[in-house]
């Protein structure tokens, strides 16, 4: 018998009496702040920051945020940057990127997370090899909590998707919190409405 069939047969023999699958209800938050305010608090708590962009030129804004940056690679047409990305880009070639720029599909107020997929990054490594990440988010595209996030079922058909919440971090030595563990050292979420023409 193959290992597969053997394991499945032994599971069937061992399985306890079946129990029902509970329904997951919606939970209303008592928090009276707006979703955008809660989102901002969540990001800040997890070591990131949120800024409003108004109608500022985004390339200028990115340069202003990261003055010393030499390589800016943007996965969104809203920012030009100086490194061209395409789905064919070798991921390892992004090792020298100082600032990655990407537009998130939506945010989660409860945790301050942004949802990003392989299509958004063009090259998923951009979100991890870049030293810093700038994430554009439409403040109208924020859901209340993780239940609402996971009910957007179509999002999870992506080949890869990640809820990113602040920069990479570790507290593995004496509990001392370090931002910039192995991935990005900083995350800035820029509130900017998504222009109709830029919608995918």
């Amino acid at each position: 018998m193959s290992s597969r069939d053997d394991i499945l047969a032994r599971i069937r023999a061992a399985q306890p009496a079946p129990t029902a699958l509970p329904e997951v209800p919606a939970f209303d938050s008592a928090d009276e702040r707006s979703l955008a305010e809660r989102f901002r608090a969540g990001v800040t708590r997890m070591g990131g920051k949120v800024i409003g962009a108004g109608s500022a030129d985004l390339d200028e804004l990115v340069r202003e945020l990261h003055k010393g940056a030499r390589v800016v690679a943007s996965a969104t047409p809203e920012v030009e940057g100086n490194r061209v990305l395409s789905a064919a880009t070798d991921p390892a070639s992004l090792a020298d990127v100082d600032v990655g720029v990407v537009r998130a599909r939506f945010g989660v107020a409860e945790t301050g997370s942004v949802w990003l997929t392989d299509a958004d990054f063009q090259v998923s490594a951009l979100g991890f090899l870049s030293q810093h990440l700038v994430v554009l988010l439409d403040p109208a595209a924020i859901v209340a909590d993780m239940h609402d996030a996971y009910r957007r079922r179509g999002e999870f058909d992506a080949a890869y998707g990640v809820f990113m919440t602040g920069p990479s971090a570790t507290a593995d030595i004496e509990g001392v919190l370090i931002h910039g563990a192995q991935g990005i050292r900083s995350m800035t979420v820029v509130f900017r409405e998504q222009a109709l023409g830029d919608r995918r």
Binding site: A13, G42, A149
Partner: protein, 475 residues
């Protein structure tokens, strides 16, 4: 025959390093406090626990169907699915995948399952360099030790220990123990591996049946780097990790990091569904004793565990004895109920490393009745004469005393007198195990029986005066 792990002997060595032991206790208690603040902030916390427990119960009682559904979807996603009965088969499968592609360097994120399978030495003996990329796990790898905690693998070490290990193994300045310097050194040391590795590997926090997705919850970014750079990605998954639907993640993700570290979510919750163009994705589904556990009426609930470590952080025995003292991949309360299923004789002392205070059960996000299972394991072990000799003798003596009212009275009266009259040095000397690491309670002025005889024996209706009962502190 396998050597029996002597937990209390190992724990006594841990306690001797006073600075380490005190820091360890404080750090884990701090995590427990943070967990309390997070859970208290969610009015639906208890309901979430019930849901999580119910979803896991359902998934485990329909496990074969969900695994088949997961496999079907994973294959449709373009992944190759392998099945492994035990650790040896897991290691052979992984090595087979790597060897067939000539892979020489493997970068991996933390996975308790690969530790459970002892995969690293197996691959290393076959010429494959394995790079642990989680900071804590890397520290442990470089120091030749297993992880001492399932979430924070090097929590038993202080910065000076890390500075020593790093200076010996990756060439940092031995005089510098600044935590930022140490973490930055590891980042710099690890990065070229991500760029050049032939293969990447992760474990799995959850496997979603309806989509065939592997979900990995991390903070450092190392799991995503391990997947997004190499051309080959292998995920090792314990078969109990499968849950039915995407929407169920809401319940688990909301509780996992809140329980583990007291943060609302891990910095990264990654969903790997399909390989990128030009990449191969392999999923190894591993049994390794899980099915035996599923068939054990009293113990199958332990398979609901989502590996948050909350039970370890709250456990007074774990905090004061350190994870390595358990001599097993899984330590603390959850380890105590899992480990004996791997090897009853070897791990027969572990269920006694508990006060049965029930705190582990109270903090468990999936409502595993951990302390009850610990108690049941004690019964199994005592029934099979796997009790350590000292415990057998103590139990025999206790049995005699408890069975005889006269002996019991004599013993308690003697203890009451001696506790109040004996000088501190006698109670807190190295020979008295109960005086170590804890303050003994103030001795009552008389035993319950003495109090009863004085106050109640004649007129049973009389209310005892306040502060005059047994154990009262009034002086």
């Amino acid at each position: 025959m396998t050597r029996r792990i002597d937990h209390s002997e190992a724990a006594s060595r841990f306690i001797k390093a006073k600075d380490h032991a005190e820091f360890h206790d404080r750090r884990l208690w701090d995590l427990r406090g943070k967990r309390d603040r997070e859970s208290a902030a969610l009015p639906e916390w208890e309901e979430l626990r019930t849901l999580a427990s119910g979803i896991k119960d359902h998934a485990l009682t329909h496990l074969a169907e969900y695994l088949e559904e997961f496999e079907r979807n994973a294959i449709a996603n373009g992944a190759t699915v392998h099945w492994a009965r035990d650790a040896a088969e897991h290691n052979q499968v992984v090595h087979g995948i790597l060897a067939a592609r000539g892979a020489k360097v493997l970068v991996k994120s933390k996975s308790m399952l690969t530790d459970e399978c002892d995969m690293r030495p197996y691959l290393e003996a076959r010429g494959i360099e394995v790079m642990e990329t989680d900071l804590g796990e890397r520290i442990q790898q470089l120091d030749g030790e297993p992880p001492s905690h399932i979430v924070v693998p090097a929590v038993h070490k202080l910065r000076g220990d890390v500075a020593r290990v790093f200076s010996e193994k990756i060439g940092t300045d031995p005089a510098k123990s600044d935590v930022h310097y140490l973490a930055e050194s590891q980042r710099g040391h690890t990065r070229p591996y991500f760029l050049e590795a032939d293969a990447g590997m992760t474990g799995a926090n959850f496997a979603i049946a309806e989509t065939g997705t592997i979900v990995v919850c991390t903070n450092e970014g190392n799991a995503d780097l391990s997947v997004h750079l190499p051309k080959l990605y292998i995920a090792s998954v314990g078969i109990e990790k499968v849950i039915p639907k995407v929407e169920h993640l809401g319940v688990f993700v909301r509780m996992l990091s809140r329980s583990a570290l007291g943060s609302p979510i891990t910095q990264l919750t990654s969903h790997f569904r399909r390989p990128r163009p030009g990449q191969e994705m392999h999923i190894v589904l591993v049994d390794n004793g899980r099915m035996e556990r599923l068939g054990m009426a009293d113990f199958w609930y332990s398979l609901k565990c989502i590996r948050c470590g909350a039970c370890m952080n709250t456990c007074p025995v774990y905090r004061r004895s350190g994870g390595l003292s358990y001599g097993a991949t899984y330590s603390g309360p959850i380890g105590v109920i899992i480990d004996p299923t791997f090897n009853l004789r070897k791990f027969s002392s572990l269920p006694f490393a508990s006060t049965l205070n029930g705190s582990c059960t109270n903090v468990c996000p999936v409502r595993i009745n951990i302390h009850e299972q610990i108690y049941k394991w004690r019964q199994v072990i005592a029934g099979r004469s796997q009790l350590p000799i000292v415990k057998q003798e103590a139990m025999r003596a206790a049995g005699k005393v408890l069975a005889s009212p006269k002996l019991y009275r004599a013993a308690t009266e003697a203890a009451t007198t001696s506790l109040s009259v004996m000088p501190r040095a006698v109670a807190y000397n190295p020979l008295n195990a109960w005086g170590r690491q804890r303050e003994l309670p103030g001795a009552p002025k008389y035993t319950f029986r003495q109090w009863y005889l004085k106050n109640r024996a004649k007129s049973s209706s009389r209310t005892p005066p306040r502060g005059d009962g047994p154990g009262s502190k009034s002086k």
